[in-house]
């Protein structure tokens, strides 16, 4: 909402600076989003007094003036105008001044005569489009003063963000009321003088069906008007407030709305047939709105209709056909109250927004219905002629402006605000229109009457907000609340530990393209699809993090990265909606070089075991042990390089190589490895328990066998553990070789054993025995041959 200062001043005599007014508005809850200064009065234009005036010796149309501008010496100025005389006060642009039209005033010679400034017209000061001669100032204008200051030319337009609860502040009067109340200034009441009514003009007949939605409807008829463009001052005001002038009648209506907050409408009376009816639309009824759009109505819409057709969507927009044009001679003026919720529904379902609907939705002061009607019809007849009928009024004009009453315990208010409320706050609230009566029977209780313009105030807490605004939040102390309790909580590092391993955490949107979803998830109807996505690329809730990670990898590899290691902590979403699940997951991606070449080590490309190792380390960090098993049937993964991850008995995720065709869809020409773990399936993990350190030394033994290549190392190690018995502390594969000397289809695996006994030092025989058991087990289970 744009509020020109000059307009505001018509409602309250505020003299404060623009900055102070802006600060006050902010403190009262009207956020100032910007301050425009369309007329930041020209500096350097002073009030001049013409001391003498002679004809220019060499030019008929020029005059030589001697002008007192309050300096020691009068200025000699050559002037082309002729509407002035000796003794007149005129605006003089002194040397160095820049005028709004871009002209910079310099010393000069005109036809041989020196000139030290310029006498100005209204146009040259930017006050009018064009002008005939100089602006002659009043006789008492103080010589030498800045004309801008003297004429109060400074204009500022406050751009306010009016909150949706303050419909009453969507007008000059509304803002002025808050300001005036706060500053202790009077609010200037609009003229209450009734417009001259002509009996011969017949008032419109109005029927209101369903008065719940339209508690008050007033209308009058004005005959014999001649629509013209509205006067400059009015157009200028509308422009300053951000509205485009249309033509006289519409401009007056808009002006009244901006001035008083009451939206009105004007119909061309000649386009109407029969009585006016306020009713719900019939299903299937249509009308063409003023903006040219055809709208299909239904029974939820409140409309204004005549005997034949819908002439307006109530409170929102009139029909194109019945609108006032420049050829209109008779009009019906409407000023009414409509139920906010009704307007809101139609605005939303029909997609029509107007300055009128914005106000009705937020609440309009019904007390202005009559005042606005008076002001608008008075302006119309004085500007465009015509005769006004009586105003038809349907509904209880008194009832709609009935005050609400709220009983307020000051103790509760003060407890809620955390500060004592000073008595002076009540004065401000009374100036805002509240009336406050002390209840003698209850010491700390006040009885509030809420004025009709404050739709937003209905309970005690609303009153507490009024007090907070008036006292100012700055006056409220900052106090720490008492500490209630601190519940013990285990801090679980999730993504943090992956980051410690060198992964870069990324955060991607939770919605992806349906096509991307299909790469890793079958089309089984369990996608959750947005009805109003930003784009197709962001239209389904992701069921896999991999498409997002692949996109991120692509983005970075396209930006000269030679490798990426990414991790994302987030959710995946699975339908159907009625059984929807949001699953917390961690997902990793590795592609390309793990490190750049360094003097001590050449770069190496990530492989399956880098990815698997990262997941293993991460799980170990949580006190969990994972097992991995071949899974050749995971969508989007390359079989033979993919495993499912077991923690306990459940599969918590997968690790593997992304199918090459998919990787190349993301422009990734290197191997891409990914993993994901369902965090909701992970149990808490074991807490480390103290164990005494071993007292006796351990023995390390190595055995190397030839195995068939198809045997999984995991099953070999399982058999090893079983064969070795309880003295085995660790067994792991320390060497793998399938090069020269190893028969085709076989692989040489070196297994390192660490044996240790808790109660005694192991002997050579002990370890020999264990190794012998292993050798035999390998032979029986796997037909493995001991090498060398």
């Amino acid at each position: 909402m744009k509020i020109p200062l000059s307009w505001l001043k018509e409602h309250t005599p505020i003299q404060k600076s623009v900055e102070v007014i802006a600060d006050t508005l902010v403190r009262l809850g009207h956020e100032v989003e910007g301050i425009e200064t369309p007329r930041s009065a020209v500096k350097g234009v002073r009030v001049g007094h013409i001391l003498s005036m002679e004809k220019h010796p060499d030019a008929d149309k020029l005059h030589l003036l001697s002008i007192d501008v309050g300096e020691v010496e009068p200025l000699a100025i050559v002037c082309g105008a002729s509407n002035m005389g000796v003794g007149d006060k005129i605006p003089v642009a002194t040397v160095g001044t820049s005028l709004p039209n871009g002209l910079k005033i310099k010393k000069g010679k005109i036809r041989g005569q020196a000139s030290f400034g310029m006498c100005c017209s209204e146009a040259e000061l930017g006050l009018a489009e064009d002008a005939d001669g100089l602006l002659i100032l009043p006789k008492d204008a103080p010589v030498g003063d800045e004309v801008g200051t003297y004429l109060a030319l400074e204009e500022a337009v406050f751009d306010l963000d009016i909150t949706p609860n303050r419909g009453d502040c969507m007008s000059m009067r509304g803002i002025a009321r808050d300001l005036a109340a706060d500053q202790g200034l009077p609010l200037i009441e609009p003229s209450d003088e009734a417009v001259q009514v002509t009996e011969s003009v017949s008032a419109p007949n109005v029927r209101v069906l369903g008065e719940g939605d339209c508690p008050l409807y007033t209308a009058c008829r004005i005959d014999g008007i001649k629509v013209a463009a509205s006067p400059d001052w009015l157009q200028a005001r509308l422009l300053a407030a951000g509205l485009r002038p249309i033509h006289g009648v519409v401009d007056v209506i808009n002006y009244t709305m901006l001035d008083l907050g009451q939206p009105m409408h004007a119909f061309d009376a000649d386009t109407l047939s029969g009585d006016i009816e306020v009713r719900l639309a019939k299903d299937g009824e249509t009308f063409v709105a003023l903006d040219g759009r055809e709208v299909s109505l239904d029974a939820s819409d409140l409309v204004i209709a005549d005997a034949e057709k819908v002439i307006a969507l109530a409170g929102i927009m009139g029909s194109d056909q019945t609108g006032v044009s420049e050829s209109t001679t008779q009009i019906i003026l409407e000023s009414a109250a409509f139920k906010a919720a009704k307007i809101s529904t139609s605005r939303r379902t029909k997609g029509l927004v107007s300055d009128s609907s914005m106000r009705f939705e937020r609440g309009v002061d019904p007390a202005m219905i009559r005042v606005a009607m008076n002001q608008a019809s008075q302006m119309i007849i004085s500007l465009f002629g015509g005769k006004v009928s009586e105003t038809t009024c349907v509904g209880d004009a008194e009832a709609v402006i009935q005050d609400k009453h709220i009983q307020v315990s000051m103790q509760r208010i003060e407890a809620r605000l955390g500060v004592d409320v000073p008595e002076s706050a009540n004065d401000v609230l009374e100036r805002m229109g509240f009336s406050i009566v002390r209840d003698d029977s209850q010491a700390d209780t006040l009885l509030f009457s809420v004025p009709s313009h404050r739709h937003d105030v209905s309970i005690v807490e609303d009153i507490s907000e009024e007090y907070a605004r008036v006292i100012g939040f700055d006056a409220i102390p900052a106090v720490m609340p008492p500490l209630a309790s601190i519940k013990p909580r285990k801090v679980q590092k999730t993504v943090e530990s992956a980051v410690e391993q060198g992964f870069v955490q990324v955060i991607n949107y939770a919605f992806i393209a349906a096509d991307d979803q299909r790469l890793f998830v079958p089309d089984d109807g369990r996608d959750l699809v947005l009805a109003n996505p930003i784009s197709d690329a962001m239209s389904v809730m992701r069921r896999s993090v991999f498409p997002s990670l692949l996109n991120t990898a692509k983005y970075n590899m396209n930006r000269q990265q030679t490798g990426v290691a990414l991790v994302e902590l987030g959710r995946v979403y699975e339908g159907p909606m009625s059984q929807r699940k949001e699953i917390n997951v961690m997902a990793w991606l590795m592609a390309g070089e793990l490190q750049t070449d360094a003097w001590y080590e050449k770069a190496r490309k990530a492989d399956f075991f880098d990815m698997k190792g990262a997941v293993e380390t991460w799980l170990t960090g949580r006190g969990l042990t994972a097992r991995f098993m071949v899974d050749d049937d995971v969508q989007g993964f390359q079989s033979g390089q993919t495993a499912k991850i077991f923690v306990g008995k459940s599969v918590v995720g997968h690790v593997g190589k992304v199918d090459e065709a998919i990787a190349s869809q993301y422009d990734l020409d290197t191997n891409v490895f990914v993993a994901s773990v369902n965090l909701d399936l992970l149990h808490a993990g074991k807490q480390a328990k103290f164990q005494p350190l071993p007292e006796f030394p351990s023995i390390e033994r190595d055995l190397v066998f030839l195995f068939d290549k198809t045997i999984a190392s995991e099953s070999i190690l399982q058999a090893v553990r079983k064969a070795c018995g309880p003295s085995l502390v660790d067994a792991h594969i320390f060497d793998l070789y399938d090069g020269q000397g190893v028969p085709d289809g076989q692989v040489s695996l070196g297994i390192r054993f660490v044996l240790q006994h808790a109660k005694r030092t192991l002997t050579q025989e002990d370890s020999d025995q264990a190794m012998q058991a292993v050798i035999e087990a390998m032979k029986t289970h796997f037909e493995a041959v001991l090498r060398g």
């Binding site: 809620r416 605004r469 391993q501 990324v506 979403y573 909606m577």
Partner: protein
């Protein structure tokens, strides 16, 4: 010349020769050879001693002393030379082992937490210290939790201000949507407490992703919020201000002046928007604060009685404050990040630089 004198002269000559050779020895190894050749069992000095037998017994001790003194001299000289050579050799070795210590160390490439995650961690840590519990809630919400229970009825103009993502209706179910703020967690947490037969005090911080159907330079369709609320007897606006002041100063790691401005939110009454003194210009006025010296950071207020009512908490007994903030916004302000989109482009160069 007596036999004795001749022996003395021979010994002296031998000693001088040995000393000379010792001082000319250029390596520990050569020195070792000299030691053996002079002082060893078959060494020259020993062989000189063999001549002692020819002397009269009376003179033997004299030459014995002489020989011992010579032995002593030679040993000392040897040790001296040995130490000197050892030092020299060590210096040579050290010089040979000289490396370029300015070469980079063996590092592994560092990962990084996403700046938003870092912000979330820092913020929740501050509230944890203040005794706030940490809660989470679903991102796919219904209209009741996202709007109705928060005192935003269907026709409320504020509802239109939330550009909501809706889901395709699934049968005849209620409309489902992506939550537009973390405030539904307020409702869920309070309701869960009441349903379990509990009652306030409640102090909760809830974090998570939220969604708005708005996508341009300053809007991301997904962003993160932190929601904080406390419900107890006698909770006041002053408490809200106290917690805000503490939180904002703790987060920005300095005393930040704050300003509360009256505002409107359907779920709080009174409501306030909270500004901090511009962190870029220290209130001198700059482009970021549009010359005002203040930067809006969050919305707050006293929980509306209708909200408490919707979860079954008696607003005549309990009151509470609540506020919600955009994590990205605060992170941008703290680290001077100019563009919201950087957070979701996930350029690892940005993430590595900004991430902890």
């Amino acid at each position: 010349m007596s036999e004795l004198d001749a022996l003395k002269v021979a010994l002296k000559t031998l000693q001088d020769k040995a000393l000379d050779e010792f001082s000319n020895a250029e390596s520990l190894q050569a020195l070792q050879v000299l030691r053996v050749s002079y002082l060893g069992k078959k060494g020259e000095l020993t062989s000189v001693l063999k001549g002692v037998g020819k002397l009269p017994p009376k003179e033997r001790p004299v030459i014995g002393q002489f020989v011992n003194a010579s032995k002593q001299t030679l040993s000392e000289s040897l040790e001296k030379r040995e130490a000197c050579l050892a030092l020299k050799e060590k210096q040579v070795r050290i010089e040979a082992e000289r490396i370029d210590v300015t070469l980079s160390g063996r590092t592994s490439s560092k990962g990084s937490l996403h700046p938003v995650q870092q912000g979330l961690n820092e913020m929740t840590a501050i509230f944890s210290q203040l005794g706030f519990d940490i809660a989470e809630g679903p991102e796919i919400e219904d209209e009741f939790h996202n709007f109705d229970a928060l005192n935003i009825p269907q026709e409320h103009p504020a509802r239109a201000m939330h550009d909501t993502f809706f889901f395709h209706p699934d049968g005849d179910e209620k409309a489902n949507l992506l939550r537009t703020h973390t405030s539904p967690v307020q409702i869920r947490t309070m309701k869960a407490c009441v349903d379990a037969g509990g009652e306030p005090p409640l102090a909760v911080v809830a974090t998570g992703r939220v969604y708005r159907c708005d996508y341009d330079v300053t809007h991301s369709p997904m962003f993160h919020q932190v929601e904080v609320f406390k419900v107890d007897k006698n909770i006041s606006l002053a408490h809200l201000k106290g917690v805000l002041q503490h939180f904002l100063s703790a987060y920005f790691e300095k005393d930040v002046p704050i300003r509360l401005r009256p505002h409107y939110f359907p779920f709080t009454e009174p409501s306030a928007e909270v500004d901090i003194a511009c962190v870029f210009c220290h209130q001198k006025g700059c482009r970021v604060c549009k010359g005002s010296g203040w930067i809006e950071v969050l919305g707050s207020g006293m929980i509306h009685p209708n909200v408490l009512k919707s979860v079954g908490i008696d607003s005549t007994v309990y009151s509470g404050f609540a506020f919600g903030l955009g994590v990205e916004r605060l992170v941008m302000l703290k680290y001077g990040i100019p563009d919201l989109r950087l957070f979701f482009e996930n350029d690892v160069r940005f993430l590595r630089r900004m991430g902890a």
